[in-house]
Amino acid sequence: MSVLLAVQGLGKSFRGLRAVNDVSFDIREREIVGLIGPNGAGKTTAINLISGAIRPTSGVVRFRGADVTGMPAHRLARLGLIRTFQATNVYAGKTVFENVYVGTFSSRPSGFWPSLLLTAAFRREREQTRSRIEALLEDLGLRDLADTPAADLPYGYQKMLGLATALAGKPKLIMLDEPAAGLSAEEADLISVLIGRVRDQGVSVLVVDHNMRFMAKICNRMVVLHHGMELTSGPTADVVRDPRVLEAYLGTEHSVA
Amino acid sequence: MFTFAILSQIALNGITLSAIYILVALGFTLIFGVMRIVNFAHGEFAMLGGFALSFFYVSLGLHFLVALPIAAVAVGAFSLVLERVVYRRFYQREMPGMIASLGVSIALMYGGVALWGTHQRSIPSAFSAVYTIGPIFVTAERVVVIGVCLVSLALFYLVLRFTRIGLAMRVVAEDRITAEAQGIDTVATYRFAFFISTAMAALAGGLIGQLFSLSPFMGLMPLVKAFIVVILGGLGGILGAAIGGLVLGLGESFVSTFYGASAAQFISFGLIIAILLFRPQGLVGRKEG
């Protein structure tokens, strides 16, 4: 399996505070990598750096072989690198359907005129998109909410919607910041199944979450951050038994059921 | 040709101007910060302040330094009525709020026309003395203006930084519901902020009336200046307003003395653009949100 994303010596500091410090790791195709670590370890910042939301102070990011360090997020998205956010992932004023529709833009020919002039070709293509979106909503059990304004959804559904929107962009690599947070065990399981399926369709996943049941279930490998630095990394089974990880992150009560 | 004497004269003029700008700007930024309303009527509250002062000082013959605060409080009180019937509906709703306040502005302005006519009038100088410090002329008027501004600036700073109500105003500005969930009476907080804001505008209006002249249309100038000052300083509150005010006041004064009126317009506008481009968040502004 070839390397899809390669991060080398990534670093970012905010007024002296080293949020991310010389972090390196790879993600291969069809692989689900977990990025874990205590609160404030730098996970979200790492995702921001990779996705182009903010510029790294040091380090290189290569995606599908090309150096994409500091490339604007929207171009990365079109290259197939899409991320979700820890907090807001929805366009509050738009309906569920419209949210996902926006998600599809990065995966579609975005001709200005065809859509303006409603060419036949465009209309055909839009129909396909429509059905694709409906399938997606079906998958996440959002079908019935298709016309609800995102703002009125309870927290959990908003999470789901954010995921759907990201997936609609047909990513090669998707980076999820706490997708299971605020979801009930049942829903978390649903998501993990979904992510599994996404992977089977040939998408790699970088996932950040504190729900270890969830993480343990889906991750092939894990990278552990601590104070912005890589604490350890390796196969999930090893990582979750690593005493340093238990001490710094998982805590004594923890057990991977 | 521009001797030291003249330079210091210019500086003095500039500082007086700055003082007034800052006074107006503070109230403006307070309302914007707390209620998210760009209050187009802010200048009209200054206008009312001017006429209120002329009522208490000229008509009732109170001492200037007594009449001034009374006028400010009177206008603040009146503004609370508007707060109740108009502004309260528009808190945290920028667009409609902007337009509604524009409506208030127009109504007040032409209400003023109906009441006082359109001709410009003046508030006779309370302090006609003119000191000559060395070669420069310092009118007592201007000293008073600067003094009043310094005092209210200081007070305002202390309140906002070190008192509960100050903190309350700042957190209410950020998230009303959560603030309320801390036990803060947000409605009362709004009312307080609104009162302070309009009272300060009125204070400035009084000073403008004393220094320059009164007319129902006098509100536009303070509004535009406040707008520039606030954003130039960055919505960073007091420090921002203070710096923005000084930059604008001194800038205008020097530029238009050296290069004349029309050039001054271009230069000062050019300056504003330049500053904004180098400091997209204003001189001391933080990123919003």
Binding site: P38, G40, G182, L183, E186 | L167, D175, T178, A181
Partner: protein, 253 residues
């Protein structure tokens, strides 16, 4: 169903010791009915967990108590005083602390100032001491004391939200998804903190959680909601054993 026993404790009418009486309350947003005719009670010092899937109505219940969400029928009584009709800040002054869903810290203001805001209703002299106390509960906040809260990590923000709610020395603490986005070790830590503080100050806790495992560990009893109705209620251990509950809310592997 071993634990679906409504009568597993005395009916509301017979209890006078109760702190909060949530009595036949319905909550709806326009057409959406979030909670219908729900009743439960909380006794002083006890901890009750509200668990349920998304949209079950957990947050709505807490919001209703806080006077944020409008209630259609029913009444909410706290220490023999009606809460419904009060404005939120008045509810707080009655002695209820609230840590909202999704943290909602004051992003632009510093950590310290957030906590000060939390202490708004305390007599001024008491604030510094209380502040020190809370910072002891959450040493991480002390480290970040003067950082703008918006730039805190997710978890740090959650600690801040809880700390802020504790500032006012509430007799009833409402926590909406307090473990949301917290590292396991931190989840555990928060649980301990809540227990210690509770032991020290004797307030009652009503916690709405997705993380049922944790919630049921923390709470003496639990109420399981499903689309606005009480589905089960019972002692935590019992609920934790119940197969149906396990399947739906604790997760199976």
């Amino acid at each position: 169903m071993s634990c679906a026993i409504p009568g597993s404790w005395k009916p509301i009418s017979e209890r006078s010791t109760q702190l909060l009486d949530f009595n036949g309350v319905s909550i709806s947003y326009g057409a959406v009915r979030a909670v219908s005719e729900l009743s439960f009670a909380i006794e002083p010092g006890e901890t009750v967990a509200l668990i349920g899937a998304n949209g079950a109505g957990k947050s709505s219940i807490l919001k209703a108590i806080m006077g944020i969400a409008p209630i259609r029928h029913g009444s909410i009584v706290f220490e023999n005083g009606k809460l419904d009709g009060l404005r939120t800040f008045q509810v707080v002054r009655r002695g209820i602390g609230y840590s909202p869903e999704g943290r909602r810290v004051f992003a632009a203001t510093s950590v310290i100032e957030n906590l000060h805001a939390g202490g708004h209703i305390l007599p001024r002299p008491q604030v510094p001491a209380r502040l020190a106390q809370v910072l002891d509960y959450f040493p991480r906040l002390r480290e970040r004391a003067h950082q703008a809260s918006g730039s805190l990590s997710g978890g740090e923000q959650q600690m801040l939200a809880i700390g802020r709610a504790l500032m006012s020395r509430p007799r009833l603490l409402l926590l909406d998804e307090p473990t949301l986005g917290l590292a396991p070790v931190m989840v555990q830590h928060i649980g301990e903190v809540i227990r210690t503080v509770q032991a020290a100050e004797g307030f009652a806790v009503l916690v709405a959680e997705q993380n049922a495992v944790w919630a049921l560990k923390l709470a003496g009893r639990g109420i399981v909601l499903e689309v606005g109705h009480k589905k089960f209620q019972g002692r935590s251990q019992e609920l934790a054993q119940d197969p149906v509950v396990r399947a739906a809310y604790l997760g199976t592997d």
